[in-house]
Structures are given as structure tokens and as C-alpha cells.
């Protein structure tokens, strides 16, 4: 395509006259313009991503000589209870986090899309946690969830509920992190849904009104189907994001108590940078990559099939 374009352009403008090495003036400029981006991209993203596959088959660690170990890392992973535990925890976080963020985000988007006072104030407040660093928010929640002096237990005491252990309990640690993440993520989903809502043509709503549809019917049969592409986008990106949760885990529980919150990325970090089993860590990151690749594709397929049936 690009080649054809440049040939047809050649005739009309002297800029397109070919010089030595068969490069036009614009092509030379383009190379110069793209290089500052492509060099760091190549060195720090493309080459590492590919070589990470190679490291998956080695026992690389910073200290010892590298040896090809074949599928050893993968058989080790298969027998590694912590790896399975981390997969389960990541899935737990994802399944707990995403429905809440999406439903709550949609409700908030519809609410702030209505003609209400202080609309902008609400939007700003809901989005605020997203510009704050996850580490900072984790620190505040660590304080809010402190079993002895935290604000949450104080609140529970007022309504007559016993103080909870929150992050220090194997049962409550993950729900606590999910609770925090929903509060953080919901503003982003809200803004994306808001953009989607504003893209729905007014004429559809007018037609529904003429047909005598009530508010609920309009919402179910116009708003929701029209937001389907946005929903797919939010779902795919949230799954990919949720499966990579690391910051709050590291800062709040470091995978504990008793590995109740260790996630895949946490395991990769521990193996790669605490135990310096970098080959093993690389193989785990490839498994995560393949997992996410498969998830996004199946997810997209499921959603489009669902749309056809409807």
C-alpha cells in the first residue's frame, strides 16, 4: 500500500524524485523522525520481549553461568504449588474486581451523565484516585485497615460490629485489596462509559420515546446494546490489567498472610529479583503472556458471538 502510494505521488511532486539508494527525500526524513522512537523501543521492549522466550529455557541468574535447561522451568512450574496458588489468587482478584468496577462504573456514568448539579465536581472526585499512585493509595488503605487504630474498624465499632483483621487475615486480605481496587478503578470505567454514552445518537432515544418505551426499557434495549463495544474494550483491558496487579500486593501484604495474596506478577518478581532465578521468572512471565493473549482473543470472540445472537 505504502509503496503504491509513493509511486503515484512521485509523478505529481518533485519531492518524490528518488535519490541514491532508492530513498525519496520524505523517506529519509521519515527514517530520521522515527529513529528516536524505534531505538529505545527496540532496545528496551522488542529485543527483551523476544529474548525473554530464550531465557525461559535457561537457568539464568545474575551470579552463575547461563545453561540451557530445556523445559525444566516449565516442569518445575507445573509442580510449583506457589505458582498455582498465585494463578488462583490472580483469578480471584480479577473475578472479584472486574464485575464490580464495570457495573459500578456504568451506574456512575449514567448518574453523572444526567442533568444534575455539581456534575463536574462528581466526575473529578471519582477520577481522583486514578491520578494518585497505587502505592500512595495502598499506604492510606494500610492505615485505614489497621486492625487496632484503623478508621474502618472504628466505623464498624460504632455500628456494633467486631473489629476485623482485614489484611492480616487469610480470608479477608484479598477482599480488602479488591475493595480498594474497585474504589480506584471505578472512575476510569466511568469516564470511558461516559464517552460511550455521549456517542449514542439522540435520535435513538427519541424513537424509543415515540414507541412508548419507559426508562428501563430504553436503558436495556438501547443504552446497553449501544455500549457493547465500550464494554468489550473495558472488559479486555481490565482483565489484562487485573491479571498484572502488583503494586498494592507488594506494598500492603507482600503476598501474605500465608501466600493468600501472592499473584503471578508477585511470584515473577520474587523469583526474578529476590531469589535471582531469572530464567524461571522469565518462563513465568511467558506463561502469563500466553494466558492473557488467549484470554483477550476468547473474550472478544465470546462477546461478538453474543452480539450476533442478540
Amino acid at each position: 500500500m505504502a509503496v503504491q502510494n509513493s509511486i503515484s505521488q512521485q509523478k505529481s511532486s518533485p519531492t518524490w524524485r528518488r535519490r541514491r539508494y532508492g530513498l525519496t527525500r520524505q523517506e529519509k526524513t521519515a527514517i530520521l523522525f522515527v529513529l528516536p522512537l524505534m531505538i529505545p523501543l527496540m532496545i528496551y521492549w522488542i529485543i527483551p520481549s523476544l529474548s525473554s522466550l530464550y531465557y525461559s529455557f535457561t537457568n539464568y541468574s545474575v551470579v552463575m553461568a547461563t545453561k540451557w535447561v530445556g523445559l525444566n522451568n516449565f516442569t518445575r512450574m507445573w509442580a510449583d504449588n506457589l505458582f498455582w496458588r498465585s494463578l488462583k489468587n490472580s483469578a480471584y482478584f480479577t473475578v472479584g474486581n472486574i464485575p464490580l468496577v464495570m457495573v459500578f462504573g456504568l451506574i456512575l456514568a449514567v448518574a453523572v451523565n444526567a442533568r444534575i448539579r455539581f456534575r463536574n465536581f462528581f466526575r473529578v472526585v471519582f477520577y481522583l484516585p486514578l491520578v494518585t499512585s497505587t502505592i500512595a493509595i495502598s499506604m492510606v488503605w494500610l492505615w485505614l485497615l489497621d486492625p487496632n487504630f484503623g478508621l474502618l474498624n472504628v466505623g464498624l465499632k460504632i455500628i456494633g460490629v467486631h473489629p476485623q483483621l482485614w489484611l492480616q487475615s487469610t480470608k479477608q486480605a484479598m477482599p480488602s485489596i479488591i475493595m480498594m481496587s474497585v474504589g480506584v478503578g471505578v472512575g476510569g470505567t466511568m469516564l470511558i462509559y461516559l464517552a460511550g454514552l455521549q456517542g449514542i445518537p439522540e435520535s435513538l432515544y427519541e424513537a424509543a420515546k415515540v414507541d412508548g418505551a419507559n426508562n428501563w426499557q430504553t436503558f436495556w434495549f438501547i443504552t446497553i446494546p449501544m455500549l457493547m463495544p465500550v464494554t468489550v474494550y473495558v472488559l479486555v483491558t481490565s482483565i489484562i490489567g487485573s491479571f498484572q496487579i502488583f503494586g498494592p500486593i507488594y506494598a500492603m501484604t507482600d503476598g501474605g498472610p500465608a501466600f493468600a495474596t501472592t499473584t503471578i506478577v508477585h511470584q515473577i518478581y520474587i523469583n526474578g529479583f529476590r531469589y535471582f532465578n531469572m530464567g524461571y521468572g522469565a518462563s513465568q512471565s511467558w506463561v502469563l503472556f500466553l494466558l492473557l493473549l488467549g484470554l483477550s482473543i476468547t473474550n472478544m470472540r465470546l462477546m461478538t458471538r453474543g452480539m450476533e445472537v442478540a
Binding site: 529505545p40 529474548s51 492505615w143 487504630f149 506478577v265
Partner: protein, 307 residues
């Protein structure tokens, strides 16, 4: 059908006042819902600020003192002196500002080339840039660490990159791998595509070279989208955690996010100082957001439209 219509007509006079009150009820419920949600999202921020200004004796008081009468700056003073938060803040500022400037330069040049220049392999290369954006960044984490470590002639390395620590634990190591976001290139390319070609033609007739056209004619028209890129890039860099965690080894190179976790893990947690440090870490991005929220909202909306 007819009967239903009849029924509604008959019940209409009765129905109307009811409908009106239920209408008000819906509005009241909406405001209560929004108000409660907003408050629950603000409470962590409010509690952080309140805790950071409370004297040590009031922090652990039960029931908690909400509005203290004796505000104190002792926690901030301790965070800056004993906690080294002045160094962490300075490091984060350097890294974020330089990353943002480099990102602006690099991604706008590339976005311009992808949108306005005609060259072979243009579409293919753009696909590569987008694919890198889609990649979970984690997959490159370990090899990128190794590449930074074997940077030739840096950190005691020879020309083969052996013998030293390379760019680990240094500003270039923190900055360069964060340069070149595919999302920013995408955003800028979309914006450049909307500009009329007459602008460049006029520049060429006036004898401007290609860089001059880009720098003097096109870029000044792109301030809004450049602002979006700058804000997102600064925020991402300021809040980044995993990469600094991996490559920073000494205290003098710590970014503010690392400083927070270090402070939380090393000492018996001193909540006053930790909340003061957290407040310091929160201020820059929140202030930028409040000042330029229009651009943030535009940027988010653009990511949504893409889907």
C-alpha cells in the same frame, strides 16, 4: 392493547401526583447515591491529610480525634529530614520531567512521520509500535533489567558491557526504558491526520525543510494534544513502581514511591510520617489533574473511542 390504553387513561389522574413524587424521590436517591460514593472516595485522602497534621499523641487515640485543635508540621519535617523524602521527591521530579520531555519529542516526531510523511513500511512499522503497546510490559521486565545492566561504558562496564552494573541504579536506567509509549504515538498520529495538508505545502513553498515544517508549523497547532501526552506521561512516570523497584539499589536513587514502601517496611510503622510522605507523593499529580482536568478527560475519552 385497547384495554391497556383504557386502563392507563382511567388511572391517569390518580397516577400523576404519584409519578411526580416518585420523580423527586429518584432525584433525591441519585444525589444521596452520588454523595455517599464521592464521600467514600474522598475519605482516604481526607484521613491521610488529617493524620499527617495531627500531633503524635492524637494519632492512636480511641475514639479517634477527627478535627485536631493543635495542627503540627512535625511529621512533614521528620519525613524530609529523617525519612529522606526530599531526595526521593527530587529524584522522582527529575525522572518524571525528563521522561516527559523525551516522550514529547520522540513520540511527536514519530507520530508526524506516521501521519504526514509517505514512506515504505510505514503501516507495518506503525503496527509494530501498536503491538508493543498491547504487550503486557511484564514480559520484557527481566531481559530489560539485563540489557540495562550490560550498557557498555556505564557503571564500570567495558565496551562489551561486562564487569560493572551498567545503568542499574542511575537516572538513565530509570528514564530511557520508559521512553516511547505507543499510546502517545497513536494519539498524536490521530491528531496530525486531522490537520490540512496545505500547511505543509505552504511551508515547502517558503523553503522550509521537513524538520522546520514539523517544528515551526505543525507543533504549535498541537498544543492541546501535546498537553494530554505530557500529563499522561508525567503521571505514569511519577506513579511508576515496578521498574524503579527492580533497578534502584541505593538510597540516593530511590523514587518517592520506593521511599514510601521502604518506610513502611523498615520501621515500626510511624503512621504520622508515612501519611506525610504519602501526601507529598500525592500532591504533584493531583495538582496537575485539578489544574488540567479537561485534558485528562479528553485523553481518557480518546482511549475509550478507540475500543
Amino acid at each position: 392493547m385497547n384495554r391497556a390504553a383504557n386502563l392507563t387513561m382511567q388511572s391517569a389522574p390518580l397516577h400523576r401526583p404519584l409519578q411526580k413524587t416518585s420523580h423527586y424521590l429518584v432525584w433525591i436517591l441519585l444525589y444521596v447515591f452520588l454523595g455517599v460514593t464521592a464521600l467514600s472516595m474522598l475519605i482516604p485522602f481526607i484521613w491521610m491529610v488529617f493524620t499527617s497534621f495531627k500531633p503524635q499523641t492524637e494519632i492512636f487515640k480511641m475514639p479517634p480525634v477527627i478535627f485536631t485543635t493543635s495542627y503540627t508540621l512535625e511529621h512533614y519535617a521528620r519525613a524530609l529530614t529523617r525519612g529522606n523524602f526530599n531526595i526521593y521527591f527530587y529524584n522522582s521530579m527529575i525522572v518524571s520531567v525528563v521522561t516527559t520531555l523525551l516522550n514529547l519529542f520522540v513520540t511527536s516526531l514519530a507520530g508526524y512521520a506516521f501521519a504526514r510523511l509517505k514512506w515504505r513500511l510505514r503501516e507495518e512499522l506503525f503496527m509494530v509500535v501498536l503491538a508493543v503497546m498491547m504487550l503486557p510490559g511484564l514480559i520484557a521486565l527481566i531481559p530489560t533489567f539485563l540489557i540495562v545492566k550490560v550498557t557498555p561504558f556505564a557503571g564500570g562496564n567495558n565496551w562489551l558491557g561486562q564487569g560493572g552494573t551498567g545503568w542499574l541504579d542511575s537516572y538513565p536506567g530509570l528514564i530511557l526504558p520508559a521512553v516511547g509509549g505507543g499510546f502517545y504515538v497513536f494519539l498524536l498520529r490521530q491528531f496530525f491526520l486531522t490537520l490540512p495538508t496545505e500547511l505543509e505545502d505552504a511551508g515547502r513553498i517558503d523553503g522550509c525543510d521537513e524538520f522546520g515544517i514539523f517544528w515551526r508549523i505543525i507543533l504549535p497547532l498541537c498544543k492541546p494534544v501535546l498537553a494530554v501526552v505530557a500529563l499522561f506521561s508525567f503521571q505514569a512516570s511519577w506513579n511508576d513502581f515496578l521498574w524503579p523497584l527492580v533497578i534502584v539499589q541505593s538510597d540516593r536513587m530511590r523514587t518517592i514511591q520506593l521511599g514510601l514502601t521502604l518506610f513502611q517496611s523498615q520501621h515500626r510503622i510511624d503512621w504520622g510520617v508515612l501519611m506525610a510522605g504519602t501526601a507529598i507523593a500525592t500532591v504533584p499529580t493531583v495538582v496537575l489533574f485539578l489544574a488540567f482536568q479537561r485534558y485528562f478527560v479528553q485523553g481518557i475519552a480518546l482511549t475509550g473511542i478507540k475500543g
